[in-house]
């Protein structure tokens, strides 16, 4: 981000983005009568996103979870500061990989409550420590295979963050309690690996073979009747991913004023990842729109002749990610910092503007209406 951009310039840019989102949304509604794109139109984009976006990212998650499990094993075999650091590095790598797929909540991620069991956040905010301590104090560490039935707060990456960062020192003591902590740590890393393995396996082959479900819609397909249906699931991920960044990761922490900021609500304070997660989450979403090969929803937009919209989307993602990077500190510190707080506020506005453009202009341009009543859960 260029530092010589004045606040006024930024405000103009921002309000421009918002104004564009709103006025063009109306324009788009007016031209909604235009012929719907043919179904084949979506097939190529779906194929590209599944093969180049979804599958490699879940493979990467599986690999990171495997490494994390061995780092946990090594730590518990011979506890020491060096191995604790290795395990923490493994945790960061697994989290980075998770931020690359956490928007892909459909298909394998919703089977067996995998997404919730892998990363029950923000739902479990404030409940992870107590859930883990309860397991440690209670009847015992769940046996392999029983972990999936434990509290969601105690069985995924948040539980591991608690064990490795908040209570890392307790793992290194030479006592029975440390042994129990290590036993739970092993159970948790095994569980994380099993979930990541199941996700990757169900996407590419096996009984579920979700890659095939997305590639071959039809009357017998349980998930998608048409390529457009499958595209809608991917599109929903893009929209909901932006919504999650704004509504769960930024807004509650920022508050209406510096005094109303709530650093306590920031994500992963123990491992200092709150801003890093926002940046990597936005990068994953940007890649859904346009990846380094020029694939993604951008192809649909360009095929529809919406050159201006395509440029706007690209620029909006670029600006938003630049703002997120410019924060440079964990969110919990930034919201109370005179210089950084305005950047967080700007980031929230930009993510919301982006979401609004996706919901209105982009949805209309590629024929994937986001329903008024359909997304409510009411």
């Amino acid at each position: 981000m260029r530092s010589d951009l004045g606040v006024g310039g930024l405000a103009r840019r921002l309000s421009l983005a918002l104004a564009l989102a709103l006025t063009l949304a109306l324009g788009a509604a007016a031209q909604a009568g235009a012929a719907a794109p043919p179904d084949a139109f979506y097939a190529a984009v779906n194929r590209h996103l599944v093969e180049r976006h979804v599958l490699p990212r879940f493979d990467r998650l599986r690999g990171a979870a495997r490494e994390l499990r061995s780092a946990g094993g090594a730590l518990c075999q011979a506890p020491g500061a060096g191995r604790l650091e290795d395990a923490r590095r493994g945790f960061h790598a697994a989290m980075d990989a998770w931020m690359g797929v956490q928007h892909l909540r459909f298909g394998p991620a919703e089977l067996f409550s995998r997404a919730d069991r892998f990363y029950f956040w923000p739902q479990a905010r404030g409940k992870v420590g107590p859930a883990v301590e309860k397991l440690l104090a209670g009847g015992g560490i769940p046996a392999p295979g029983r972990m999936p039935t434990a509290s969601a707060a105690a069985q995924g990456l948040p539980a591991l963050e608690y064990l490795l960062f908040e209570r890392g020192a307790a793992l290194l003591r030479a006592d029975a309690a440390a042994k129990r902590r290590c036993a739970l740590l092993l159970a948790v890393t095994r569980n994380i690996h099993a979930i990541a393995d199941g996700l990757a396996a169900d996407w590419a082959g096996g009984r579920v073979d979700f890659r095939r479900a997305m590639a071959s819609p039809g009357p017998a397909n349980l998930y998608y009747k048409t390529h457009k249906d499958a595209a809608a699931a991917l599109f929903q991920s893009l929209h909901d991913g932006l919504e999650a960044v704004a509504a769960s990761r930024i807004r509650p922490v920022l508050g209406a004023s510096p005094a109303a900021a709530r650093p306590r609500l920031a994500e992963q304070r123990a491992s200092g990842r709150s801003t890093r997660n926002i940046v990597s989450g936005l990068q994953a979403l940007a890649a859904m729109y346009r990846d380094k090969d020029g694939g993604g929803f951008t192809r649909l937009v360009r095929a529809r002749g919406e050159v201006k919209l395509d440029a706007l989307m690209h620029r909006a993602f670029g600006l938003t990610i630049a703002t997120a990077r410019s924060i440079g500190k964990p969110l919990e510190a930034a919201v109370r910092d005179e210089t950084l707080r305005p950047r967080v506020a700007k980031l929230l506005l930009q993510v919301r503007a982006l979401k609004q453009i996706v919901r209105t202009r982009l949805a209309t341009a590629i024929g994937l209406a986001v329903g008024f009543n359909a997304l409510d859960g009411d």
Binding site: E243, L265, A374, D378
Partner: protein, 374 residues
Amino acid sequence: MRSTVIERRRALALLGAVGLAPWLSRTAGAGPRDIFLSARADGQGRYWFSGLDAEGGRRFYVVLPGRGHSAATHPRLPLAVVFARRPGRFALAVDWRRGRVVARFAPPEDRHFYGHGVFSPDGRLLYACENDFEARRGAIGIYETARGFARVGEWASHGIGPHDLRLLSDGATLAVAIGGIATHPDLPRLKLNLPTMASALALIDRRDGALVGRHRLAPAFHKASIRHLALARGDRIAVAMQYEGPAGDLVPLLGVSERGRPIRLFDAPAPAIRALRQYCGSVACDTAGAVIAASSPRGNVLTFWEAENGRHLFTTPVADGCGVAAAGGPGRFLASSGRGGLFLIDVARRRVARIGPPPRAGLAWDNHLVPTGG
């Protein structure tokens, strides 16, 4: 919550101090019949509460402070209370004959509405589904009509996420759809407890808050959230669900509980269930109490079923169709869409007719249509 002095006075004048009788006598006989009430958005960020006649003509509209959801109709007066969509906290009492707001009220600071309510048979009390979000429990707030809807008490809802409720014919038993999903206004649309959620149909005595019955679904369906209710003939309670589990699961989203008996899920053909896309937005029963209509804005369909045996009658496409209400005789329904359309459906003839003036761009009917006649 803000409540202007004038509005409070007007409410008191209408409902309390001068008694209901004079107003009632002016109203009796001459009142328009079959008005339908619904919240809507106008595409410019404003939200409204509207009255429609059976031809889709606009009878009134009042502006809302935020997005509305459903409404409760007074059994004797041309009065309806429209509630905020969750996690909203406003409620407006509207004289639907004149299209005027007569009172505004809100739950306590640590509660929000779920969007549904129901009056007692004499209209003296209003029961509203509420979220006691810090305690993660559901509540049924009790408001007294004649005191400008002052909150006079609450009952426990006996389950998380009470969403919709109906009063059975005994005038005492509230049937409450316990959605089972915990939410908090800090994270407005996020579901906090899906791995452990437990939905139910609770039967609560409105006089003392006692739980007189509770029906749950089989453990395999624990992620099916009972959200909306309709009453069919003989106090059959139709339940409509939203499934929070995997998209490929085959879960009947509709069922019926005959008073005091467990929920019997409809044994529907798979295509009819799949067409709902795991999501029922609204449910209603026709005037004869024999046909159940269930909408799915996600599946873009309206479906119709026999109340007696759960037999699937037919399914018709309506894009973003959600609001549905009994209209004009047996087997007839009015339905509304998030894209602004209104439809009259004749189930026996399988006829669907678009009615009313062409919708303005951006007009979106909200989830529920409420008939003043029922």
